[in-house]
Homo-oligomer: 225 residues x 2
DNA sequence: CGATAATATAATAATAATGTGATAAATCTA
DNA sequence: TAGATTTATCACATTATTATTATATTATCG
C-alpha cells in the first residue's frame, strides 16, 4: 500500500548497496540500476517508480543525459548525487527539473529527510491510518478491510465495531462498555444487538473471525491467537 | 499573469536589495520584510504571496520561529537562508516543511534556479495542472473535464467537487468533510445538497460516474475500480 | 449429567441513509 | 430587469443497515 518504489542509479555497487539498505530499512521498495540505459529500462518496465536517485558520474550515459531522457516521458521526482559541489552543475540540474541535489559524501539521514520532503510535496507520502492485526488489515483512511489481502465488505457499524475491537486489542470489553463507545450515548436498546454484529463480522472475516473471542459472562476480547 | 509575488525576509537591508533586485529582473514581484513579525504582517495583508525567502539569523524572532508561525496558517513554499551548513539545522528545516535550504554565501543564479524549481513543483509556474484517473481527465488549468477524450460540461460547483474527489482518491470522505472543503466555511445548509451534486456528476460522467463510490453511513469515496 | 444461564444464529421488523426528480432560491448574463 | 443557469432544498421512493425477536446452541456449575 504505502510501499513507495525508489530507483537507485549508480555505477558503484557499494553505493547502491548502502543507499538501498538504508531505504529498505525505512520501508521503501528499492529498484537498482548500474547505468543510465538500465535506469531507463527499469522506468519503462515499471511505471510505478515514485522517485529516482541518480548519480551524475557514470560511464557512457551520465546522470544529466539520463535525466534528460527520463524527463521526455516522466515527471518523476529526481534527486541528483554528485561528488562535485560545482555551481554550474547545480544550475544545470535545476534546469532539467531536478528536485534535489545532494553532494557526496552525504549522510543517509539527510538523504531520507530529503526523500520524505519531496514525497510529501508530491503527495505520494499519504499517511494512511492502518491497523494491522495478524492477517487482518483495517484501513481507516480508505475505509477498507482486508483479510489476507482480500477485501471484505463491512457495513458502517460493523466497521466501527471492528475498529473499536482492534484498537483495544487484548482488552476484555463488556457489552456495556462497547455500547458506550461504539453506539451513541442516547442508545438505550438491547445490548444483545452487539452479538448480532459480532456474528456478522466473524462470518465476514472468515479465518480472522476467530480474533474476536467470547468471554463468557463478560463480553468480548479481540486477540490474535 | 506570471507576476508571482515573493516575500524576502532578512534583517540586512543590503541582502534584501541584492536578492530583490535580482528577482525583480526575473519578473518576480518582490515584497520585503526586515524581521519575523513584519513578515507575518505582510503575509496577513497580502494573501497572494507565492513564496517566502527566509533568513535564519534575525534578531528577536528567528527564521525557524517565523517559519513555525507561517506554517500555522499557510503552506506557502519557504526557502531558508543560513550561514551555517550544519546538518542538524537542515534536518530541523525539513521537519518544519521547508522546501529548500540554501547556505550563504550563494549566487543569485542558484537562488533563482531553486525558486523556479519550487514553483514548477507547486504548479505556480503556469504549467498545466491535470489530474488523470482511469478514463477521466481533469484539467484544472483550462477547467475542462474529459471522459475517454470526450469533453463533459460541468458546472462550477460540480467541477470543484469532482476535483476534490480526484485529489483525495481512495480516501473515504464524510459529508461534513466535503462541505468544509468544497463549500465555504459559512455554509450551514443541508449536507444532502452534496448528494444532488454527486448524482449530477455521476450521470454526466457516464461510465466514469462509478468512480464515485457511496460509503453507506459515512459519505463518498473516489476510486477507479 | 442435567439444569440453567449466556451466547450464537437466523429471520423479520424497524430504522435510517441514499437516490431521484421536481421545485424554489440564488446567481449570473445580456 | 428579464431570462437563463446554477445551486440548494424538499418530498418521496428505494435500498441498505440496524435492531429486535425467537429459537438453537453452547458453556458453566452444582
Amino acid at each position: 500500500m504505502n510501499e513507495l518504489k525508489i530507483l537507485v542509479v549508480d555505477d558503484e555497487a557499494r553505493m547502491r548497496k548502502i543507499v538501498g539498505d538504508f531505504l529498505a530499512a525505512k520501508d521503501y521498495s528499492v529498484v537498482e540500476a548500474s547505468n543510465g540505459e538500465e535506469a531507463l529500462d527499469r522506468m519503462y518496465e515499471d511505471k510505478n517508480i515514485d522517485l529516482v536517485i541518480l548519480d551524475v558520474m557514470m560511464p557512457k550515459m551520465d546522470g544529466w543525459e539520463t535525466c534528460r531522457e527520463i524527463r521526455k516521458f516522466s515527471k518523476v521526482p529526481i534527486i541528483m548525487l554528485t561528488a562535485k559541489g560545482d555551481e554550474t552543475d547545480e544550475l544545470l540540474g535545476y534546469d532539467l527539473g531536478i528536485d534535489e541535489y545532494i553532494t557526496k559524501p552525504f549522510s543517509p539521514k539527510i538523504l531520507v529527510a530529503r526523500i520524505d520532503a519531496i514525497l510529501r510535496r508530491t503527495n505520494k507520502l499519504n499517511e494512511e491510518d492502518v491497523i494491522e492485526v495478524g492477517k487482518l488489515s483495517i484501513n481507516k483512511t480508505s475505509h477498507v478491510v482486508t483479510v489476507d489481502g482480500q477485501e471484505v465488505e463491512l457495513s458502517f457499524k460493523e466497521f466501527e465495531l471492528l475498529c473499536y475491537f482492534a484498537e483495544n486489542k487484548g482488552i476484555a470489553l463488556s457489552r456495556e462498555k462497547i455500547l458506550n463507545s461504539v453506539w451513541n450515548y442516547d442508545y438505550f436498546g438491547d445490548a444483545r444487538t452487539i452479538d448480532t454484529h459480532v456474528k456478522k463480522i466473524r462470518s465476514k472475516l472468515g479465518d480472522c473471525g476467530e480474533y474476536i473471542k467470547t468471554i463468557w459472562g463478560m463480553g468480548y476480547k479481540f486477540e490474535v491467537d
